[in-house]
Each structure stands twice: as structure tokens, then as C-alpha cells.
């Protein structure tokens, strides 16, 4: 590609991002107007919630936003892998929970193992369990033709209730009062990566797990666009008949896509476990695995786009708590806005493709 055309492509991308940003802001304003909240105040209170202000300092708020972003990013990447391969997995939630469950169990069983090694084992257990959960749906599709949309939803229920039972049964805390496990020892958990000096003493919870999530963007990008497997998956997602005719191993690719997608969601589960909660409990996930689908869709099913959209969703979620505090608007409203944003983007996309055909 020559330089001018490269610049032009970058410029176009920049304009696109600008258009998305403007559209989403407009959407927020309209929603606020409908609810009779002054849009400017509401927007600024959202922004302060998500990114802080000069009074309270930016670092703490940004750290909280990134913590909310991390599980959305990883599960979103999981959706990208599966959906790009034409496997419409809805199973992120179950895979995330199973990952956290396996991580917690590994932590309990391996109490005597040196802590840094145990951290690694917990991560691997979580990724492995998530991958297995995804693989199950894959094998049902490949061997028996069961649609993954159905099987992954069912596997979600299995995982949700399995976790519910475990935290009241084998994994419940010693005190046996609440439906939760004992915390993992601090030495096993991820390190806080922001020195307290930067946040005037208040403890920013940002942990090293977020770095793993950022690294995953690169790994997934590499896999989808620079490997044979990724090419095969994308080809299969666009036209399975052509992939078959070109002798791609369709069944293997389907299984791989589901396993990798599940592994990413499982990773989201253990990272939340090791970075934020430290223990497992019944409502461990506020539906990250489901939100992941709009996140990935808003991101155009690309890894980079998904990162941006996960950040947007994370910031909205974090900022809405501040909004609720100051304006009395329920933070649930934010979910309405998130859903409306996805609908707007999907609508814009189909409008674009309609125009192309005409």
C-alpha cells in the first residue's frame, strides 16, 4: 500500500470513530432528555464517574473503569472468535462461571503449592475448564448437529446452578453462613499495579490481570488474521461450503473455535477471581458473558473494535453509578442506553449494506 492511500485509510477510520462517538453521545443526550434530566449535567457526571475529575483525581476512577472493562473485553474476544467462525455461541456466561469455579477449586485443592506456581495453575484450570465447556457445545454440533445457540444456553444454566450448589456445598466457607467460598490467600491473587502514592492514599484496585486481557487482544488478532486456523475460521464463518470445497477441516475448525472462545471466557472468570473478588459466590457474574455479545457486535466482531467497545461499556457502567448518586436516576438506565447503542449500530450497518446494494 502506498503512503497516501494508507493515510487515506487511517483518515477514514478516524472519521468512522468520530461518527460513532458523535452518534453515541447524541443517543445518550436524547435518552436523558426523554427522562427530563439536563443532558450536559448528566453527561459530565457520567464522565466524572468513569474518568474522575481534578478534585478526586483521575487515576482511581480510571482504574475502576478498567476493572469493569476487563471481563467484558475477554468475553467479547471470545464472542469474536466464535462468531467470526460462524458459531453463534451464547455460552460466554457459563464458560466464565465454569472458569472461575475451576480456578477456585484448583486454588483450594492446591493450597500447599507455592503461591506463584499456584496462580499459574489456577489460571490454566480456569482457561481449561472454559475451553472444555465451549468444546462440549462444539462436539454436540459436530457429531449430532445440535445448534450451538441452544446447547450453549443450556450449558449456561448448568454452569450457573453448578456454581450455586458448589458455594453452598463443597466449596462453601468454613463458617457456613453465606453462599460463598473462603477467600483465596492474598499471595495467590494478582498484584495491584498502581502505587498508592498516585491516588492520594485510596487504594486503586487495578490488577495485573488487566494486562493479560490487553495481551489477549494481540493474541486473538494474530490468531484470526495471521494463522492458517484463523483464516480457515473466518472463511468458514463467511461461507462454510467454500471452506469445505477448499478442503478445510470444518469439524476441527468448529471445535477449535468453540474451545478457544470458551477458553477466553474462562480466562475472564479466573482473572475476575484472582484480581477483584478473591472468592467465588453465587452471583459472581452480573451477566458479563451475555453483555459480551453486544460488546463484540458494537466492535464489529474485530479484536481492536471489541477492545474499544468494551472500554465504552465499562466506562458507561462505572460512570452510571456516579450518575445514579447525583441525579437519582437508576443505574439500570445505563443498560437501556447500552442496548440502544447496539441497536443503533446494527441499524446503521444494515442501512449501509442496503445502500451498497442499491
Amino acid at each position: 500500500m502506498k503512503l497516501p492511500s494508507l493515510l487515506l485509510a487511517l483518515w477514514r477510520r478516524f472519521l468512522l470513530i468520530l461518527a460513532y462517538g458523535a452518534g453515541l453521545t447524541l443517543l445518550l443526550c436524547v435518552t436523558f432528555l426523554i427522562l427530563k434530566i439536563p443532558p450536559v449535567t448528566a453527561l459530565s457526571s457520567l464522565c466524572i464517574g468513569a474518568f474522575g475529575d481534578s478534585e478526586s483525581g483521575h487515576i482511581y476512577s480510571i482504574s475502576e473503569t478498567l476493572i469493569k472493562t476487563t471481563p467484558l473485553l475477554l468475553t467479547g474476544l471470545g464472542v469474536v472468535v466464535a462468531w467470526q467462525a460462524g458459531m453463534f455461541s451464547i455460552g460466554g456466561e457459563g464458560q466464565l462461571l465454569i472458569g472461575a469455579l475451576a480456578g477456585m477449586a484448583a486454588g483450594k485443592i492446591g493450597e500447599k503449592i507455592p503461591s506463584s506456581l499456584l496462580t499459574l495453575i489456577i489460571i490454566l484450570a480456569g482457561v481449561g475448564a472454559g475451553a472444555f465447556w465451549g468444546y462440549l457445545a462444539g462436539i454436540m454440533r459436530v457429531k449430532r448437529g445440535v445448534q450451538e445457540v441452544i446447547s450453549t444456553i443450556m450449558l449456561n444454566y448448568l454452569a450457573i446452578y453448578l456454581v450455586g450448589w458448589m458455594v453452598e456445598g463443597p466449596l462453601q466457607e468454613k463458617a457456613r453462613r453465606v453462599s460463598q467460598s473462603d477467600p483465596l490467600p492474598d499471595s495467590v491473587l494478582f498484584a495491584r499495579i498502581i502505587p498508592p502514592a498516585l491516588t492520594n492514599g485510596s487504594i486503586a484496585r487495578l490488577h495485573s490481570g488487566t494486562l493479560i486481557a490487553v495481551l489477549s487482544i494481540l493474541v486473538v488478532s494474530f490468531m484470526m488474521y495471521r494463522t492458517r486456523t484463523g483464516f480457515g475460521m473466518r472463511l468458514m464463518g463467511q461461507n462454510p461450503d467454500a471452506a469445505k470445497t477448499a478442503r478445510y477441516p470444518i469439524d476441527t475448525l468448529r471445535l477449535r473455535a468453540m474451545a478457544i472462545s470458551g477458553g477466553l471466557c474462562g480466562l475472564a472468570g479466573v482473572i475476575e477471581l484472582l484480581g477483584v473478588t478473591g472468592r467465588l459466590y453465587a452471583n459472581f457474574s452480573p451477566g458479563w458473558g451475555f453483555t459480551a455479545i453486544p460488546v463484540a457486535l458494537l466492535g464489529g466482531l474485530t479484536p481492536i473494535g471489541t477492545a474499544a467497545s468494551a472500554l465504552f461499556f465499562g466506562a458507561l457502567t462505572e460512570g452510571s453509578e456516579n450518575l445514579a448518586r447525583f441525579s437519582g436516576v437508576s443505574s439500570v438506565l445505563i443498560y437501556v442506553i447500552q442496548a440502544a447503542a447496539v441497536l443503533a449500530v446494527v441499524g446503521a450497518k444494515s442501512w449501509q449494506s442496503l445502500r451498497k446494494e442499491a
Partner: protein, 527 residues
């Protein structure tokens, strides 16, 4: 010549239809009178279906006029056609498999009010009694998907009749039926004719036309060839009308001449004693629905030759092609390559030009460049370990695009932005760039204009000169004649060899029309 008769039910005059640069119908006139069965005969791509789609409102003509019972009509939708009393019985049924017979029969009936109680049985009553008049007892409460294909077709026919259509169009109705079912269907067609309906019958089997039609019109490549009462003609004449009289070069288009010249030039260079590299013995292949698609077929292909297989679509072509490239396993039979095991893709290196490029050849939403490297991505020379060599793949795609003359505004655009010809060039480029020893091409020029067709042909010839063994499966008899060293016709899962130099076009036409060779009148033995 023409008897004084009432106005025909439908008269189509000077109909012309183009798709892009290709003219699929040129100045065609056609009419259907009440109380007659008028057959439309022609090879695949002759334009029969397009002409009837125009009459039934599915397609609009570029020019020409239609009048119904003497009144000019503008038929711009199937709904309008139905209102005007025209119904089409499609080759691929338009029934809902999960609905009952009665429900399917009421699909076309008007809804009176959304509040009125709907009873499928009641609405289907008149249609069912009409079926009864034809001697059919249709199981009103059975689901369509549980019924055998012959019964489904009856439902389809009754559904067409239920709209009080006076003019019925049948698109190759016998293609899916057994011999006894065909007999029955013909009985019904005659009954309908005697009741005063006008029937247009799209067909390519000569015997069927002679058995049931009153009049026949022959089309070839979108041109009108002949029209006459069936009593005034015979199978031989119809056959020669259908495929043209190439021996006298009465219809040499520009393409034919060019091709024949270059073909003869190359023939002299070809190796006369090339060896048999591919053998198939007693090959039996099952289709997707478990039916026998290929029945006990033997074939041999030499290196440096193009073995042409002709015949009308749906006689086992696609199943045979899939077996020849290893995408389908045969039920039984022996396949060998150079006397050893036949493992297409490994030994021999295989190039495949599939029949339907949009369905199985391309991913049109991906970029042109990505579409060019489906196979290359999987070759070790384009990878370091697991990582693709992006630069090498890009330059490979660029080379292929240049070499195969793929015209595009940018290789990063989606393949859907290309014309059909350029899309096909992608498929051809992928099939041929690795210099395969074994090439299977199915209708490689269907839907292409002259230049693109010539290009594909020259690429196949170049591969032949290089020594590749090529199987060309095509419904275009001119293409087969121009390209092939040896030719055969595939009909009902059986292969019949014919010598294109010695067989007259008449004999080929008879073979195509499913007319079985009796005795030794047709030059050909089953190899």
C-alpha cells in the same frame, strides 16, 4: 398454415431479455391456446425457464409484449400473474414442509379479515375436491415433509389449480418422478387440457414431448429455432433442432470459430500415446437423499487429454464431480491413479472448478485477495511455523490476479464487487495456479461472456498441453465439442461414450434427450 382460432390464452411477442452483456432471450415469440399442451424444448441455458418466468411474473422482459386472451397485459409480479389466471408448477416445490397439505393448499387464498376464524380444512375444501376430480385422494392432514416426492408434486399442481388458473406452466415436472408416476402425470395433463386449460410444458426429454405435447417450440441459446405441431415432427428432427447442426456450421458464432481453430492447432501438438492415469470401475455413488446418483460407471482418463462429460443437469453430474475431487465418498467401486490409490488433493495434485461459484467457490464477503489464497494458506511454503507469510501471500495473490487477468478496482475490495466473469477467474486461478495433474471443471463458463469464456477455455487447454488429465463436465455441448479429446454423455447416472467426430449432432441430441441407443445406431459403447 394457422387455423382460425380464438385468441390464445397468452401470446408473448418479441420478448428480449438481457443479463448484463449476455442476451438470454432474443426476440422470442410464444403462445398458448386453450386446450393444448405446448412444449418448450431446449438444452440447459436455452432460455426456456427465463421465458416462462417472464410469463409468470417472476422476471421482467427488457422488451416485447404480452397479451392475455387478446388483451395487452403487464405482468410484473407472480401475484399479478395469479390474478390473471396464470400459475406455475415449479421444479423446486414452493410448499412449506412443516405445514399440512390443507394448509399448503390455502397459502394463496385471500384473507377475508384478520378477525374471521380461519379453518385450513374449510378453505382447502374446493382444492381438495378438485384434486378428487383428477383422481387424486390427497391426505389433507398429512405434513408435506412426510409425503413422497410424487405426492408433493400433486399438491403443488392442485395448489396451482386452486387459484382458478386457466394457464398452467410446468417446469420440467418429470425430473423428480419415476416412470409410472410420469405416466400418471401425463394422464392428468391430458385431462386438464381436455377441460380447456392451456398448458406450457418446459421439457428436454424428447420421448415425453412426443408422448404428451400438441405443439412444440424449440429454443437454442436464447434464439427461436422452430415451432410446429408435434404430429409433424419426430425425435431426430427435434434433436437436431435442439442442439443445432454443427456439421454444416450453420450457426457458427464467433466463439465457435475461434475455439475450433485454436483447438485444431493444439491437437497436432498433443501426445498421441499418452497413458491412462485415472481409472474408475463399477462406481456407484449415492446422492444427498440416498438416491443412486451414479450407477455402475466405468471411466478412464489419460494425461494430456480433456475428457468431456455432457448431459442435462441433475443426471449425477455434481455427485460424480464431488467424488472425482474427493469431497464425497462413493458407495462402492474402484478408483485408481497411476495404478495406485486415488487420493485427490495429495496424489494427484487436484484443481477443482465447482459448479456454483457463489455457493462453493468463493466467500464473496471476503476480499479478492483472501479469496485467491484459500489453498495457499494451507501450504507449508507460505508459513513460518504457525504464522502466515503475509507478504508472500499478498504477492502470490497479486501475481495470480495479473496472470489470470482479474479486473478489479482493488484487491482489498470484497469479491462481491466483481463481475461474474472476474469472480469465476478467481476460482479458475485457484484451481490452476499450483499446476495440478488432475483437474475437474464443472460448467466452468456458465454465465460468462465471450471473453471470459475464451479465457477459461485457453487456461484449460494450457493445462492439457502441460500434461494434466482434465475432466470437463458441462451442459454446454458446444463447449464440450470445442475442448474435449473424448466425449461422453451422462444420462440417468450412466455414461455413454460417443465420438464427436463421427457421431452426428442428431445422435448426440438423441442421447441428450434421454433417447437410449438401440442396437448399434449410436456410435458408442459403455466403456
Amino acid at each position: 398454415m394457422q387455423k382460425a382460432e380464438p385468441d390464445p390464452l397468452a401470446r408473448m411477442e418479441a420478448i428480449t431479455k438481457r443479463y448484463g452483456t449476455a442476451t438470454v432471450l432474443r426476440n422470442i415469440s410464444f403462445d398458448i391456446r386453450p386446450g393444448e399442451i405446448h412444449a418448450l424444448l431446449g438444452e440447459n441455458g436455452a432460455g426456456k425457464s427465463t421465458l416462462m418466468h417472464i410469463l409468470s411474473g417472476l422476471t421482467r422482459p427488457d422488451s416485447g409484449s404480452i397479451s392475455l386472451s387478446g388483451i395487452p397485459a403487464k405482468i410484473d409480479s407472480p401475484r399479478e400473474a395469479r390474478r390473471l389466471g396464470i400459475a406455475m408448477v415449479h421444479q423446486h416445490f414452493t410448499l412449506v414442509p412443516a405445514f399440512t397439505v390443507a394448509e399448503n393448499l390455502t397459502l394463496d387464498s385471500p384473507v377475508k379479515s384478520i378477525f374471521s376464524r380461519f379453518s385450513a380444512m374449510k378453505s382447502a375444501d374446493s382444492a381438495l375436491s378438485r384434486a378428487h376430480e383428477l383422481g387424486w385422494n390427497l391426505p389433507a392432514n398429512a405434513l408435506i415433509r412426510d409425503l413422497p416426492i410424487g405426492t408433493q408434486q400433486r399438491v403443488e399442481i392442485v395448489k396451482a389449480l386452486a387459484t382458478d388458473a386457466k394457464l398452467l406452466i410446468f417446469d420440467e415436472p418429470t425430473a423428480v418422478l419415476s416412470a409410472s408416476e410420469i405416466e400418471e402425470l401425463f394422464g392428468v395433463l391430458r385431462k386438464l387440457r381436455d377441460a380447456g386449460h392451456g398448458i406450457a410444458l418446459i421439457a428436454h426429454k424428447l420421448a415425453e414431448i412426443l408422448a404428451v405435447a400438441d405443439r412444440v417450440t424449440v429454443l437454442r441459446r436464447g434464439e427461436f429455432v422452430a415451432s410446429c405441431p408435434v404430429g409433424d415432427t419426430n425425435a431426430s428432427q427435434l434433436a437436431s433442432w435442439m442442439i443445432g447442426n454443427r456439421d454444416e456450421s450453420s450457426i457458427p458464432t464467433k466463439v465457435d470459430k475461434l475455439e475450433i481453430v485454436s483447438d485444431e492447432k493444439q491437437k497436432s501438438v498433443s501426445n498421441p500415446d499418452s497413458e491412462i492415469v485415472f481409472t474408475a470401475k463399477q462406481l456407484i455413488i449415492r446422492g444427498d437423499r440416498g438416491e443412486t446418483a451414479i450407477n455402475d460407471l466405468d471411466m478412464e482418463v489419460r494425461n494430456g487429454e480433456i475428457f468431456g462429460i455432457g448431459g442435462v443437469d441433475g443426471n449425477g453430474q455434481s455427485e460424480l464431480a464431488e467424488v472425482l475431487v474427493g469431497l464425497r465418498s462413493p458407495m462402492s467401486g474402484l478408483l485408481q491413479w497411476n495404478g495406485a490409490e486415488f487420493k485427490p488433493g495429495v496424489t494427484p495434485v487436484t484443481g477443482y472448478i465447482p459448479q456454483d461459484r457463489r455457493r462453493s467457490g468463493l466467500a464473496v464477503t471476503m476480499s479478492v485477495r483472501e479469496n485467491l489464497i484459500f489453498e495457499a494458506v494451507r501450504e507449508p511454503e507460505y508459513r513460518y511455523g504457525i504464522m502466515l507469510k503475509k507478504r508472500e501471500l499478498t504477492s502470490l495473490a497479486d501475481t495470480m490476479a495479473t496472470q489470470f487477468d482479474i479486473r478489479t478496482n482493488g484487491l482489498d475490495l470484497p469479491a462481491s464487487s466483481l463481475s461474474g466473469g472476474n469472480q469465476q477467474k478467481i476460482v479458475v486461478a485457484r484451481a490452476l495456479h499450483s499446476d495440478p495433474d488432475w483437474i475437474v471443471a464443472v460448467n466452468p463458463t456458465r454465465g460468462l461472456d465471450i471473453h471470459a469464456s475464451l479465457f477459461v477455455h485457453s487456461q484449460l487447454r494450457a493445462a492439457r498441453l502441460r500434461g494434466a488429465a482434465i475432466v470437463l463436465i458441462s451442459t454446454d455441448m458446444d463447449e464440450l465439442t470445442a475442448l474435449s479429446d473424448r466425449t461422453a454423455i451422462l444420462s440417468s447416472g450412466q455414461l455413454t461414450l460417443y465420438d464427436k467426430a463421427e457421431s452426428s449432432s442428431l445422435e448426440v441430441g438423441l442421447l441428450l434427450g434421454g433417447w437410449k441407443p438401440s442396437g448399434n445406431t449410436i456410435v458408442g459403447e459403455v466403456i
